[in-house]
């Protein structure tokens, strides 16, 4: 059967499933809209968190990025998994015990101040918007590539679907669609990976396969290192970035993960404190399946690519090359007119340009897998993009309807009114996100990675100190958050957009890249909070009791 039919069938079936789930599980109260009525099973919540977490970037781009960066790609692997340890050990159980709806709820109550709440809402909105604009763009790209519509139409279709189930279902609807989306996306990622591992190394398990030998009896990684040296690339298994920068980027991604409001809020949806710990464990297990496979896919496709194209005659290349050339993701310019492809590190001599995304997208074709596998890949990529977009939308709408309207502007709003406000703000947020998806400001791609820095620099210290220090007061926390997020915003706009005089790599403070600066800003946040709190009055007895209560899971 034609590929296009298969894709329409796979996408059609999966979308019908999501919409059916949203209708069955629609929210009827604010509790259900914000936190799914706090009745989600820990394993279901683990899957939902995993889908929420793994975006189109994890699904499509990550393996490709690792493929081109080798060891340096480890920052994403460790950074985007290690944060769950912090979540499970330092945040999730206590925030669940606190038992309200949002992160600004916690900040506002724990620091007994609407200013603190307001600062937290501001941070949550900035983080979520930088993140979601990139997601909507991802949705558009995936739709346009697989369904052969233009990106604008792609964004609009994606927007309508997300709007439908996020507005109708709220957190409850989103949770159960995310469970379905996780199953679709992990199946779609693993199937080609297993086939390729089998093909290249004879081992069914990709995680073991990429440490084994190929058909020629040479260890795959040794061969790849050798190929890289031969062509002038940096050796695959060692890095190009400085150790300090790798350290800081990994830390910023880890701590940022633990500070992202759309991830944290997922732990508000389970029944009890012990379930919050459990679902963090399940979430990381489900994420680790993809994250330990991605580096294997990276090695297989990197080796495959080099062996297929390097010094080969252009006219003798396999069919997939031509097909992907048409998308512009791979391009060949025969500089020395010898009809052979020179793929080398030296930009003067190199004749081949390869986009990182192709490493995952072209996998099924490189491995000669049937068309229905490609169709499932399409459904998987869409599942990854939609689930993340929906989770972020919910944070934005609850920040507006709950934290701003209910808690700050109009406390006497009825439950029904708040629910209407929540749905309306979801509609508004989708439209704004779609606008950015269609007209992406040049900086979207760059800022998605920086959303982690912003989360690390603002929320993480305020929440951790709020739980682990009884002495931390509102003055310290507010000052810390404000200084942290402003410092991060300053550094990223300076080095990414050239504001405040701009600067190049040489001007980086202590050699830390903007991606890693979140760790530095976080340390400054901690320091400012602690110093200011020493010179200002301790919180009241009531707050000390609140902390006692958060720390004790038995005292319900």
């Amino acid at each position: 059967m034609e590929l296009q039919y298969w894709i329409w069938i796979a996408v059609g079936i999966s979308f019908t499933l999501y919409i059916a789930i949203a209708i069955i599980t629609r929210a009827s109260s604010t509790g259900e809209f914000y936190v799914a009525g706090k009745g989600v099973h820990p394993i279901a919540n683990g899957m939902a968190t995993a889908a929420d977490w793994m975006s189109a970037a994890s699904f499509i781009s990550m393996a490709g990025i690792i493929s081109f960066n080798g060891y340096d790609g480890s920052v994403y692997l460790m950074g985007w998994t290690g944060g769950y340890v912090l979540l499970a050990l330092l945040l999730a159980p206590y925030l669940r015990k606190f038992g309200k709806f949002t992160v600004p709820d916690f900040i506002g109550d724990r620091y007994y101040s609407n200013i603190a709440r307001g600062v937290a809402v501001f941070c949550a909105l900035i983080i979520s918007f930088t993140y979601i604009a990139g997601q909507m763009r991802g949705v558009g790209v995936v739709f346009s590539r697989y369904l052969e519509v233009d990106i604008t139409t792609g964004v609009l279709i994606g927007m309508l679907i997300v709007l439908f189930y996020a507005v109708l279902g709220g957190m409850k609807g989103i949770t159960y669609t995310q469970v379905a989306q996780y199953c679709v996306l992990i199946f779609a990622f693993m199937l080609p990976a297993i086939f390729i591992s089998l093909m290249v190394t004879g081992n069914v398990i990709p995680q073991i396969g990429f440490g084994s030998t190929g058909s020629d009896g040479v260890y795959l990684l040794d061969k790849l290192d050798g190929l890289h040296r031969e062509l002038g690339f940096h050796e695959y298994t060692s890095g190009k970035k400085t150790t300090l920068d790798v350290f800081f980027i990994t830390a910023a991604l880890m701590v940022g993960t633990a500070g992202l409001p759309h991830v944290i809020v997922r732990f508000f949806t389970v029944k009890k404190v012990s379930d919050a710990r459990k679902s963090a464990g399940w979430a990381l297990l489900f994420i680790a399946i993809l994250y330990t496979t991605a580096p294997a896919v990276a090695v297989f496709s990197r080796t495959n690519l080099i062996e297929t194209v390097s010094n080969k005659a252009y006219h003798a290349l396999p069919d997939w090359f031509e097909k992907w050339e048409a998308t512009g993701l791979i391009s060949f310019d025969d500089k020395n007119q010898d009809g052979l492809i020179q793929y080398v590190a030296d930009p003067e001599v190199n004749e081949l340009k390869v986009d990182a995304d192709i490493m995952v997208l072209a996998n099924p074709e490189i491995a000669n897998l049937p068309n229905w596998v490609i169709a499932i890949m399409a459904a998987g990529a869409l599942a990854a993009a939609l689930s993340t977009a929906a989770g972020l939308l919910l944070v934005i709408s609850s920040s507006v309807s709950h934290d701003l309207i209910k808690k700050m502007i109009k406390p006497d709003v009825s439950e029904k009114g708040e629910l209407i406000a929540a749905r309306l703000s979801a509609v508004g947020a989708v439209m704004l996100a779609a606008y950015f998806g269609i007209n992406p400001p040049g900086f979207v791609a760059a800022t998605v990675a920086l959303a982690f820095g912003l989360a690390a620099a603002s929320f993480f210290p305020a929440i951790v100190l709020g739980i682990f220090s009884k002495r931390m007061n509102k003055e310290g926390a507010i000052a810390g958050m404000v200084v942290g997020i402003l410092l991060m915003l300053f550094y990223m706009t300076k080095f990414k957009f050239g504001w405040f005089g701009g600067g190049t790599e040489k001007d980086w403070w202590f050699g830390i890249s903007p991606e890693g600066f979140g760790s530095f800003a976080m340390m400054v946040n901690f320091a400012v909070s602690i110093i200011i709190s020493k010179f200002t009055p301790a919180p009241d007895r009531e707050i000390q009791e609140l902390i006692e209560k958060i720390r004790n899971p038995n005292d319900e």
Binding site: I66, Y71, G73, S74, L77, M78, T81, G82, Y84, V85, A88, L89, L90, P93, Q207, I208, F210, G211, S212, T213, Y219, L220, L221, D222, T237, S238, G239, T243, V246, F247, T250, A251, S274, R277, K278, A280, G281, L284, L285, A288, Y291, T292, P295, E548, R551, N552, P553, N554
Partner: protein, 82 residues
């Protein structure tokens, strides 16, 4: 020392131990000591590279499940004292 304080102290002890392991396998083995460990191999993997791209993630998953186990046991112990 009262019951809640003992509970909290034990929790903090678990956190320190588990986070030390968390730091060691990722920042230690995967980043700071990566070149030293790369002199050893594990099958076809250089050891430091393996920790950075595989080992640390497995340990992370394990750490959370160990914490779940320890805390459930601790919760039980303090519930029965009530």
């Amino acid at each position: 020392m009262n019951k809640n304080e003992t509970y909290w102290k034990t929790n903090l002890k678990y956190l320190v131990i588990l986070l030390t392991i968390w730091f060691t396998v990722s920042y230690g083995f995967g980043i700071l000591l990566v070149d030293t460990l790369n002199q050893f191999t594990l099958g076809g993997f250089k050891l430091g590279f393996w920790f950075a791209q595989q080992g640390s993630i497995y340990v992370f998953v394990l750490l959370i499940f160990v914490y779940i186990y320890l805390m459930n046991r601790l919760d039980e112990k303090f519930k029965s004292k009530n």
